[in-house]
Amino acid sequence: MFNNLKIVLHQGKQYVPDITTAQVPGIFRGRPVISTLKVDEAELVEICPTNAISGNPLSIDLGRCVFCGECALAYPDKIKFTTDYKIATNDRQKLIIAEGRDEPVELNPELIRKEISDYFSGSLKLRQVCAGGDGSCEMELNACSNVNFDMGRFGIEFVASPRHADGIVITGPITSNMAQPLQICYDAIPEPKIIIVAGTDAISGGIFEGSPALDRSFLSKYKIDLYVPGNPIHPLTFINGVLELIRKRI
């Protein structure tokens, strides 16, 4: 008992005080900024392992980017990854960062369904389904609820049963073998419900895009309420994205 109290005392406060303004340590690869400098575009496009870079004008699609950073290492004056981790959005087009643009990635308010802020702004219960994810996004989603990020303080929690959930968080490129379980789980969630796709693998398939072992038809059937890019997603990207989605709107 006394030992445990001593440990509590030694640990002190571990939580990130303000999730919306927290700084990430080191050289995090968040939102890229592309300069208008003239470079050999074909060569730059060729570097990318997942065809996330397109030319004329040069742009990076964060829904396909695996954040390997090789383009920025090869062309440091053209591409810089900033530590801006707020890159979640509900508009797939906003994930495409064009050259010369240095603005935050934001949600498109017109695409947010009214019932989301009506029902979920004070409490959001989510069911997570890993459909071929490599375990990295899953670890980061778990980290969202740890004592550091403490997502529970905003009333956002992961629950065990889809019956208790207000929405689904999908990770992984969606394998054929998981297509049916994913559908069953989604169908079991009561209306109204939201869909969040977390991680580059889930948004586009990432490095697995085009593999014959995938079945991504689920995603074309429904409206996606939030895209959270990352490989894996950063807990701060996820929490800030979800908070922005469910924020009270007039």
Partner: protein, 498 residues
């Protein structure tokens, strides 16, 4: 000679692997396995070869630091006697060969599907109709769990047969995570694509699988990595071990409802993975390891920060560990729960910490050292009870050991060498790469064709064998102890399903 003896990360012409008659091939490999305790099978696989199937078997001899490779060409339509009938460690390898190519075995104990790959031989089989072991009894009941689990973890289905609260039998059905990784290694032709693939095999073993791939690739291209590259790789592997072991201790506390332990270990993991981010920009080390170049050499500043991190970490880690491993309420749940005996471990061919917890001395860092491991004179941490307690205790000791190794390694930082340009892979070659990830041995094998292109890529994750050990460990335990048994092994679904 009936086999060729090679070293870890050695590239040989494929033609130098002796091709044996199947019966001789069986006798040779089964003989190896049965006669000496220091040898075990690290990989056994088949691939299409002029209308037939070529089987390649790799047996590691731990004492001699060598790997014995032999092969045989068989007709897929011809049923064969199985290796498994003589030695059970081959059971999953042969199930995989059966599933991929349709080879039938006359005396295999259970030729069940492994992962329902997209290119499986029998497409009429689907993951929805897996043939579970059934028991005809009115007193027993079945419990099905998954594929989607209660927490945020990967999918897999567990089918228990229980007598009241007691588990009599557990069968684990996997394959939900199958993404066709091995096939993508052949189709994605840019080196960076293959490295990114290796990084995305298993998110908790990024360093493990990526080091296995780059070591293999550099060997194929006759590239000798400089000391700075080897240092980064060795440190990344040990740091990954510290991070995951810490996270697992947190999860083990969660599963026995020791909330303080769960919170403290959970937060102790944060600075370790944040260090990866400071080092390479990613909390799970994606982007850190590259073939033939070092994007993020360890600087004096980084080394200093790591030492500071360990100093802070160690105080809190020792304090909470002392409490966890002496608290009667946690010990009551850990001790004698989920036991794997030495005999059972040897029977199923466990690897890594799942082997060492039941006193099987199996550790690639000792037996087939790569990168800077030869200098470390690694001595594996062993336990002999094979229970949840042992698996927790090993993690604690291995974290201490890894911190010691890293402290030793970063005393002198090598200058960053300007690496030679990475060439092309040697045509018609075979190469094997073994790495001791935090979970156990990771094995990658590659075969190149006439123009140096990859024609076959084979990955074996430590979970491949260890899943069966987990299924055996829970027998006769209460079903309420299943979560703690499962978490204490912490096996990979995606590493298994590929």
């Amino acid at each position: 000679m009936n086999y060729i003896s090679i070293r870890n990360n050695e590239t040989i012409p494929i033609a130098t692997i002796p091709e044996l008659d199947y019966y001789l091939f069986l006798e040779l490999n089964v003989y190896f396995m049965l006669k000496t305790a220091d040898s075990h099978c690290v990989s056994y696989f088949g691939f299409p070869h002029f209308g037939k199937i070529k089987l390649i078997c790799c047996i590691a001899k731990d004492e001699q630091n060598s790997i014995c490779v032999s092969s045989s060409v068989v007709d897929a339509k011809q049923p064969l006697p199985s290796f498994s009938n003589h030695n059970l460690v081959f059971e999953k390898f042969e199930r995989e060969i059966h599933e991929n190519f349709g080879i039938d075995y006359t005396d295999h104990p259970w030729l069940k599907p492994v992962r329902f790959p997209f290119n499986r031989f029998d497409k009429t089989n689907s993951i929805a109709n897996y043939p579970f072991f059934k028991i005809e009894s009115e007193e027993l009941h079945e419990v099905g769990v998954g594929p989607i689990h209660a927490g945020i973890i990967e999918p897999g289905h567990f089918r228990f047969i229980c007598n009241g609260e007691q588990i009599l039998h557990l069968e684990i059905q996997l394959g939900y995570q199958h993404k066709g990784v091995e096939q993508l290694f052949l189709e994605r032709r840019k080196l960076l694509q293959r490295i990114v693939l290796a990084e995305n095999i298993a998110g908790d073993s990024v360093a493990g699988h990526t080091v296995a791939f780059v070591n293999l690739w550099e060997s194929l291209c006759e590239f000798q990595p400089g000391r700075d590259l080897q240092l980064s790789r060795t440190i990344a592997l040990e740091l990954e071990r510290i991070a995951v072991h810490t996270g697992d201790l947190s999860a083990m506390c969660t599963d026995v409802a020791y909330q303080l332990g769960s919170a403290v270990y959970g937060r102790l993991r944060t600075p370790v993975i944040n260090y990866f981010q400071e080092w390479c920009g990613n909390r799970l080390a994606k982007g850190l390891i590259r073939a033939g170049k070092n994007n993020y050499p360890i600087t004096q500043k980084l080394a200093g920060e790591l030492l500071g991190l360990f100093e802070d970490y160690e105080k809190d880690f020792e304090e909470i560990s002392e409490e966890l491993f002496s608290l009667p309420s946690t010990l009551a749940r850990f001790e004698k729960t989920g036991v794997i005996t030495t005999e059972q471990g040897a029977l199923v061919g466990t690897v890594g910490m799942s082997a060492r917890m039941s006193e099987i001395k199996r550790d690639i860092r000792l037996s087939h050292p790569h990168d800077l491991y030869p200098e470390l004179q690694h001595e594996p941490v062993l336990r002999n009870q094979g229970d949840v307690y042992s698996r927790g205790r090993i993690r604690k000791k291995e974290i201490d050991q890894s911190m010691g190794y890293i402290r030793e390694l970063i005393q002198i930082l090598p200058s960053v060498e300007l690496a030679d340009q990475l060439g092309n892979p040697i045509p018609n070659s075979f190469v094997i790469s073994l790495v001791e990830g935090w979970r156990g041995e990771i094995c990658h094998c590659a075969i190149t064709g006439d123009n140096g292109d990859l024609i076959h890529y084979k990955i074996k994750d430590p979970s491949f064998h260890n899943w069966l050990a987990m299924a055996l460990a829970v027998r006769n335990n209460e079903i309420s102890d299943f979560p703690i048994c499962n978490k204490s092994f912490d096996l990979s679904y995606c590493g298994h399903d590929l």
